[in-house]
Symmetry: C2
Subunit: 411 residues, 2 copies
């Protein structure tokens, strides 16, 4: 079977009119002979509305009940999209995460997919149904409803594409594709026709909102290409694929992320295992650490700085305050007026001087660099939040991304 | 375990404030040492809103997808109520129909409960949780989501009360209990402290909105009492229980039902099996027949009249039009300006002259009786819809229901 997995985000199914036009688009592809599996998110602001109902009841909602609550949003959109397809005289069936066999662990609100049982979907495809799957949700032991956290619908789509050996995973959204940077910040930003998985993971992790890194990682493992396309256009968008098939590019993108904060633990006597203790204390509370940096002060006491998403900063500060005594640390301070700017590109590791060019471009504009981290294909600087836009523009110009040309290699 | 099953209808959980006060009420009872199982409906107008979304897409929605869509309403309220109880530092868990083992047939939108697997609920009660169950929904083969149709949450509550051998099933609503008739029509209407299952089934079937007859039938089979109470009051309400424990009452209530219509098949040649053919043609389309009456005309041709709920009248007329040729009938006519008025009481069968008093009371006001039907504990007359209120008032006065006294027998 020639299977395509498509995913439509909340804005793409935000109104009844949009749901109808998504149905039209799906049927055009189906008529071309493809077996269609469609993942949808909750309509527009449904999730926000449900969250605000819960917030009116409690400030600390249990994660299990939040998953019970939020998973209804996708259940509404799958039923409506299925009705819209049936209204066009085609066969369709909607399936919740539970019904289509997306099995997760029990980590409510940020569950990880353990396996996908494809039997139900395959038998519905064989009966010529468009299969419409609720994104963002799964089921754990005992038929418990779980959700996959941020970008969950992208993850659902990628996992289904892999499990079903789909030809492609198409992510429909309200932008034209992946850009060299946010076009709202840099008007000359250029849409990339192709990008490698590794670059995409780093761009997404560094703040590009268009795709969640988890979905890219899943697709990368099994080599399923992801196309990022606009739901109301026929333009090809951006294809995320294997680097080996792409012409090299030193830098493909610049991103900024204002959603970060730093917690510093000051004055810790130097002894082994301190970083491990901090990692496990934060990890057990589900707090993701973006970056951890240890610096040795003159008096034999260490400072450890932890960079986290801003939503976690108060929780992280509380957890670390609880650890302060056993760490024998002097104080915990947090700072949430920070941002990250990153450059991403598969040529970073192999091209000398890229990091130096980045730091110089920032220094020329007197933007102080607080912390630095890097990977094979990314360099990130933590800076003052107020300088984010300026830094992004400077880096985009420095690496001449408005002139970026990149093609697919033959073969 | 001393289990109570409570059910809160849509208006009782219609706002966040009401959900909080329902949580308070539940915890008061729990603190008195009861194991609490709570069934909730969708908040206020949620179901209507979901239906109108579907209607904006299609005029003939598939019943499977409607069940997928509508079942989200109850899922939202169980999560919110569970959060409200947890916020009050008590343990609670919400369960969908699927999760708590309410197994139904596959008749979407009007599924019947086949069995209730109580294991999950019992183990949660044993862990001191308030168990909050989504009303109106169940699960059929292959984890398909089904809904139970009108009054479905009452049915869920009664079925759980029976399966869990609960001490009582309490139905919380926005009225004080069961009245001798609708107090909006007859201001002297009296609230009944007690009523028998049989009388309640007939009252509900004859148009009293307070309880669905299916839920009463389920409770009756196993002798579980049902209390109908107001959710914002501590008044005892009305208890529905075994007739043998109650003092006799000739008539306990009068009801009117404007939601009916008649389809007449005129001029059918007399032969056996005609009524059966009509029954099965309508039944196969899920149309409930309230009453079927055959009359022999002078020329050897029969007329057959079928009384149905008004929502089914066009569908019934279409089905019968399809049967007209094979019935050799002259014409199908339908009339939807009709109403039923009924008197209900356990003394009807044993008290001579009750029917005659009813007909005289209507005749005195020149209200024509179109059709009559009766059971052991009910007499129903079909009349002109415009005379409904007048007929109800006349019958309430005739049987002096404003003076009704009825107690429970000792023992």
């Amino acid at each position: 079977m020639n299977i395509i997995v498509q995913k439509y985000g909340g804005t793409s199914v935000g109104t009844i009119a949009k749901i109808k036009s998504v149905a039209d688009r799906i049927l055009r592809e189906k008529e071309a002979g493809l077996a269609m599996v469609v993942v949808v998110s909750a309509m527009g602001h449904t999730t926000d509305r449900l969250v605000s109902l819960a917030r009116a009841i409690t400030r600390k909602p249990s994660r299990r009940e939040m998953d019970m609550l939020l998973s209804t949003g996708e259940q509404i959109s799958i039923a409506l999209l299925s009705l819209a397809i049936q209204e066009r005289s085609a066969k369709a069936i909607s399936l919740t995460g539970l019904q289509c066999g997306i099995v997760t662990d029990s980590n409510y609100s940020m569950a990880k997919i353990k396996s996908v049982r494809t039997g139900v979907i395959e038998s519905q495809l064989a009966k010529d149904h468009v299969v419409i799957v609720a994104g963002f949700q799964g089921v754990s032991d005992g038929f418990e409803i779980t959700t996959l956290g941020r970008g969950g619908s992208d993850t659902t789509a990628a996992a289904l594409a892999v499990a079903l050996r789909a030809r492609c995973c198409e992510i429909y959204t309200d932008v034209d594709g992946v850009f060299t940077t946010d076009p709202n910040v840099v008007p000359e930003a250029k849409q990339l026709p192709y990008i490698s998985y590794e670059e995409m993971v780093e761009l997404a992790g560094a703040g590009a909102q268009v795709l969640h890194p988890r979905s890219v990682e899943i697709a990368m493992k099994f080599g399923v290409p992801i196309a990022v396309r606009r739901s109301d256009s026929d333009a090809p968008g951006t294809v995320v694929m294997e680097a080996a098939k792409l012409e090299n590019a030193v830098i493909t993108g610049v991103t900024g992320n204002k959603n970060i904060a730093k917690v510093a633990i000051r004055g810790i006597p130097d002894r082994p295992g301190v970083a491990a203790q901090i990692f496990s204390a934060l990890g057990s509370q589900g707090i993701n650490i973006r970056l951890i940096i240890q610096s040795i002060a003159a008096d034999g006491l260490n400072d450890i700085s932890v960079v986290v998403s801003r939503e976690f900063v108060r929780q992280a500060a509380e957890v670390l305050e609880g650890q302060r005594k056993s760490l024998k640390a002097k104080e915990i301070v947090f700072h949430d007026q920070l941002a990250e700017v990153s450059i991403v590109g598969s040529g970073i590791a192999s091209t000398p001087g890229v990091a130096a060019r980045m730091f110089r471009a920032l220094a020329r504009r007197r933007i102080n660099i607080d912390l630095i981290s890097s990977s094979e294909v990314r360099i990130t600087c933590v800076i003052d939040e107020r300088r984010t836009t300026e830094a992004i523009r400077a880096l985009h110009r420095e690496f001449q991304l408005e002139r970026l040309q990149r093609g697919m290699l033959r073969g």
